[in-house]
């Protein structure tokens, strides 16, 4: 049994976007604040802090999850992916990101990091995502600017593009 004492910092070792990473966290530190303030990756946003808005969604061991409902010490040994992982290289956008840009699927952008992580996770698992399932994934997020329509459009475009790509790969 390991007991991590309140008020002291403890080592947290995990994988961040494919690379090993270490930080220190008090037991009460949320994964959101750990990523932003200790590790310095600020793409993950902090909205409601009780699991409703979805702005802080990251991938934990391959599944989208709320970083605000997770303690930093709980992710010891886990694989974390954040929105920083989506761009293939500096200055280039990934397929989903580019579709968001083309379709004006963001205005203020506060909710976008979380929505991208949910959609990215689902597009990886289900490349041919239809509108109904996209809307189901989006029900876990709040966007107060767009009315969701351009987000759905962008997700459908990205899904079609990714499906095309995987078909090309299979044919080749």
């Amino acid at each position: 049994m390991s007991r991590l004492q309140a008020g002291r910092r403890h080592d947290v070792r995990f994988t961040l976007n494919g690379k090993p990473c270490t930080g220190e966290a008090e037991p009460r530190l949320l994964l959101t604040d750990f990523l932003r303030h200790q590790i310095g990756v600020t793409g993950t946003h902090v909205g409601c802090e009780h699991g409703v808005c979805g702005a802080c969604t990251v991938e934990i061991d391959g599944q989208p999850a709320r970083a605000c409902l997770t303690l930093a010490v709980q992710i010891d040994g886990c694989e974390i992916r954040t929105v920083e992982s989506l761009a293939p290289s500096a200055g280039n956008l990934g397929v989903l990101q580019a579709a968001f840009k083309r379709n004006h699927a963001l205005q203020c952008g506060f909710c976008t990091a979380g929505i991208l992580m949910s959609l990215d996770s689902f597009l990886r698992q289900h490349p041919g995502l239809d509108e109904e399932s996209i809307r189901d994934v989006l029900s876990g997020h709040l966007c107060r600017c767009t009315g969701y329509a351009p987000i759905v459009r962008a997700a459908l475009e990205a899904a079609a593009e990714l499906a095309d790509r995987s078909r090309e790969k299979t044919d080749a």
Binding site: M1, R3, D136
Partner: protein
């Protein structure tokens, strides 16, 4: 907001978790998926001195068939149960209701037993446990006991679990029996304004209702039709003591119980 400070215990064996719980009782809380408790910690509605994480205990991670019962360990996440290949065949009511529990982003972490421990009167899993007449397996350092769903929930987010006990598992009867589920919420995945589950019984149907009273309620109905069924549902709806709140009026909730109830009873008895 952020949680108040606490010690974090990462249990490696169930006995360790039970020992800490036995020693620290009221001041300690079990955390599994954290999808209910973490929100309470963040809002400081709960301020435990010790948090005991049970998610690294392999003995709690399984879904097992024992005779006619399906036993779901305290470490089983809602997403894992949803992906269980036998779900539709063995627990058809769970297969219908579980997609309504939170969102994919919370089911990925939240556990089945955690939702039952939290005992939110609008939550789907306590409702399903009540509808199917399942059991909660409680364990302390000193003893083990099983509590029937009807005796487990005792009020708004309150249960008969004592402070030195943790939920080790829940068991649900496996059945291919006819069942139905329907829910009304402002947004798919939000807490239910009214959720109803119906299961066929030997001589009729059991209807369970969540979101109205301070805990899930169930009633067995004989085979009734037409006016007699409407009257029985109306009596049930009134007995649930619906209240007005920001989400819906008491009258609207009673309407939903009557209408959804009638549809589900007919669906199951068809």
């Amino acid at each position: 907001m952020k949680p108040a400070a606490f010690d974090y215990v990462r249990a490696q064996h169930l006995e360790e978790a039970l020992e800490v719980l036995d020693r620290e009782g009221t001041d300690a809380r079990i955390v599994a998926g954290g999808q209910s408790l973490m929100a309470m910690l963040n809002m400081r509605l709960a301020r435990p001195k010790t948090l005991i994480d049970i998610m690294r205990l392999p003995e709690l991670a399984g879904i097992e068939r024992k005779g006619n019962m399906i036993v779901i360990g305290a470490g089983v996440r809602q997403a894992a149960l949803l992906a269980w290949p036998d779900l539709g065949g063995s627990l058809p009511l769970v297969a219908l209701a579980l997609p309504w529990t939170g969102h994919v982003q919370t089911r990925s972490r939240g556990t089945v037993c955690g939702s039952i421990a939290h005992a939110d009167p609008s939550a789907e899993l306590p409702l399903v446990l009540r509808a199917l007449g399942g059991e909660v397996h409680l364990r302390s350092a000193k003893k083990r006991r099983r509590v029937a769903a009807k005796d487990f929930f005792s009020g708004m987010m309150a249960t008969t679990r004592t402070d030195d006990e943790l939920i080790e598992a829940v068991s649900l009867p496996a059945a291919a029996k006819r069942c139905a589920f329907r829910e009304v919420a402002r947004r798919h995945g939000d807490f239910a304004i009214v959720a109803c589950a119906a299961v066929a019984t030997a001589d009729g149907v059991r209807l369970a209702v969540g979101g109205v009273a301070d805990m899930p309620a169930a009633r067995d109905f004989p085979r009734l039709e037409g006016g007699a069924l409407d009257d029985a549902l109306n009596d049930f709806a009134y007995e649930l003591d619906a209240r007005d709140d920001v989400h819906a009026t008491a009258r609207y909730r009673r309407d939903l119980v009557r209408m959804i109830g009638r549809d589900l009873v007919r669906e199951v008895l068809q």
